[in-house]
Amino acid sequence: MSVRVLVAKVGLDGHDRGIKVVARLLRDAGMEVVYTGLFQTPDTVAIAAIQEDVDVVGLSMLSGAHLTLAPLVVSALRDRGSDIPVIVGGIVPANDVDELRAQGVADVFGPGASAQEIVAAITALVPHSN
């Protein structure tokens, strides 16, 4: 059974180069990828993730709003009783990584992360993939 990932853009950030490239790289690695488009809210992401029964949610954040929005996505999932892990990729300064982890984000990928690193991290988060 292949790993299912929802990739999402939350808030007002329209930079979608990274999310599209990562989505294709995950597909190349044999994963199923769902993309819900731009300008989503934490609630719409959580609802889509649960409905699509994905294994991981990946947020792409390049506008500096990650400390506000990523924890809201985590809590929108937990409030609905879901334990789907949330990972973040984008422009995230190193100092913010610990803060995001403390708020329940499972992993963070900054600029320059390779496809291999991202695939390995997702695989490690999904028990049935092993």
């Binding site: 950030d13 979608d16 294709r24 488009g37 422009i91």
Partner: protein, 546 residues
């Protein structure tokens, strides 16, 4: 009848120019001509302008060192603007935050966490006044990098200047206002494409009639390239969008020579040095040829492609960020050798955050080294005649022409319709995403080396840059300012102004600019003005595609 050679025309033009220095030599005293080439060559300042739009190029005037800045509140950004000017910057460009770019106010629930984060928050006339407080708008030209709400921002700018006694006709500056590339690449759209184009038409008509020194659109390839396109796609899509705006103006009954001289362009300077230079040279030649022969422009200024350049944000690395100083310097050099009219150099810390004051100053210093130490500005188009650069220029031109043909086919002969169809069919978006994927594939396969990322990573652990932090307190300060505006303004005047705006927006034969300026004066907010137009125009929803 004798046909003047390019050289003879150049010599005539050059003799009318005022050089910055009388005698120009190399460091060792070798005298330098303003340009080199055999008598039968093409020369700068002469159609089709491959070698530059001015006969004297940087001999009479250096490029404008236009630094792009914006964060936090208007007061924070005003301080940074003054710092840039104090450090020798000669132009300004305003970066707006995401809520402003998407036409919502700082107190909108969707703005949470985004206020002042990647640009300055502008909610109303009061913010616009603070933004340019104490800056002489007559000597420092300003650019406003905004698209969907461009007409609203222009209205705020005009209302603010007029409140300070500067008539609109004297205002010089640039509105990015290039909505087509928003759907194609940057994705800061609000209204559907045709409704957006009506606002572009209104700003073009308004500035052509009332603001002769204002650039109505900065047709931008920068974001197309940053989103992942190739150099040839950046060139072709940008010029095609430019042709679309010319056709839009023509459909509105405006003369091509009334609008084309006020269109400017904005290109990326990426890391492939010679390809970028070839791209700029091909851009000038293509624009001149198309404006003259397809669109029948007769004013030479309509043929001359003027452009701003910004070094490539995507080429910057978060690892060993000081290396970005070298990348940016090389990219900036390509812009100068390619004959740019103005230049923004990125700061070394921009893969991590908005630039710190120190990093922004270093970026400006890079331009000053190029301008004053290296002598690269002494001779126009110094690479002209290089077999390699000339062939690469021709190849850029051929590739662009081939993409123009595809766009024209989508529009059944119309570039305007072709651009809109290409957006609606995800044609542009697909091209850009495919090219971005190919670059990333090559990177992951180790075919493309990025120093400090997939090679030469010793030193990646050092992390001693001091980054600019925009915090939730900055957001809170902006909310206080906005609440104050809402409390102190005349609510009846706001209601009336917004009603007039809704009325004018609903009638496509009316130009909305005057009612927008009226609403700006009444202290209506950006979100209220955009909201009134959303009610009339509707919202665009992109069909997600991977």
């Amino acid at each position: 009848m004798t046909i003047e050679s390019s050289y003879e025309r150049w010599r005539l033009e050059y003799s009318a120019a005022t050089p910055r220095r009388e005698r120009v030599t190399t460091m060792s005293g070798v005298p330098l001509e303003p340009v080199y080439g055999p008598p039968d060559a093409e020369f700068p300042g002469v159609y089709p302008y491959t070698r530059g739009i001015h006969a004297s190029m940087y001999r009479s005037r250096l490029w404008t060192m236009r630094m792009f800045a914006g964060f936090g509140t208007a007061r924070d950004t005003n301080e940074r603007f003054r710092d840039i000017i104090g450090a020798g910057g000669t132009g300004l460009s305003t970066a707006f935050d995401m809520p402003t770019l998407l036409g919502i106010d700082s107190d909108d629930p969707m703005a949470r966490g985004e206020v002042g984060r990647c640009g300055v928050a502008i909610d109303s006339l009061a913010d616009m006044a603070d933004l340019f407080d104490g800056i002489d708008l007559a000597t420092i030209t300003t650019s406003m990098t905004i698209n969907s709400p461009a007409a609203v921002m222009l209205a705020l700018f005009v209302a603010n200047a007029e409140a300070h006694g500067v008539p609109r006709a004297r205002l010089g500056g640039t509105l990015q206002n290039d909505i087509l590339k928003e759907y194609q690449a940057q994705k800061e759209f609000i209204f559907p494409p045709r409704q957006s184009m009506r606002l572009v038409r209104d700003t073009m008509a308004f500035t052509a009639a009332e603001m002769p020194k204002w650039n109505s659109i900065s047709v931008s390839g920068y974001h197309i390239r940053e989103a992942g396109s190739t150099a040839a796609e950046e060139l072709a899509f940008t010029l095609a969008n430019g042709f679309a705006y010319v056709e839009l103006a023509r459909e509105a009954g405006l003369d091509v020579d009334a609008v084309a001289p006020r269109l400017s362009f904005f290109f990326n300077a990426h890391i492939d040095f010679f390809e970028e230079i070839a791209k700029y040279r091909a851009a000038r030649r293509l624009w001149a040829t198309w404006m003259r022969h397809h669109y029948g422009a007769v004013d030479e200024r309509s043929w001359q492609l003027r452009f701003h350049t910004q070094t490539a944000g995507v080429s910057l690395t978060a690892q060993q960020p000081e290396v970005n100083l070298a990348r940016t310097a090389i990219e900036a050099l390509a812009g100068v050798l390619g004959g740019t009219q103005s230049l923004h150099t990125n700061s070394m810390d921009e893969a991590l955050a908005l630039p710190s004051q120190k990093a922004a100053r270093l970026a400006l210093r890079t331009q000053q080294v190029l301008a004053y130490e290296t002598h690269v500005a002494d001779v126009a188009d110094p690479l002209g005649g290089s077999w390699f650069v000339e062939e690469l220029t021709d190849e850029m031109e051929r590739r662009a022409e081939s993409l123009f043909a595809e766009i024209a086919e989508m529009g059944q002969g119309s570039m305007l319709e072709g651009c809109i169809k290409g957006i609606e069919d995800n044609w542009f978006q697909g091209h850009i995403a495919d090219s971005a994927y190919e670059l990333e594939r090559a990177f992951n396969a180790g075919e493309r080396i990025v120093v400090s990322v997939n090679a030469y990573t010793e030193g990646n652990e050092d992390d001693d840059l001091t980054l600019l932090r925009v915090t939730n307190e900055d957001e809170a300060r902006q909310l206080v300012r906005l609440a104050h505006v809402r409390q102190t303004r005349d609510d009846d005047a706001v209601r009336d102004a917004l009603a007039r705006l809704s009325h004018d927006a609903a009638d496509p034969t009316v130009n909305v600019m005057e009612s927008l300026i009226g609403a700006a004066r009444a202290e209506a907010t950006v979100g209220e003005m955009m909201g009134a137009m959303v009610n009339v125009f509707g919202r665009y929803v992109e069909v997600p595609s991977l």
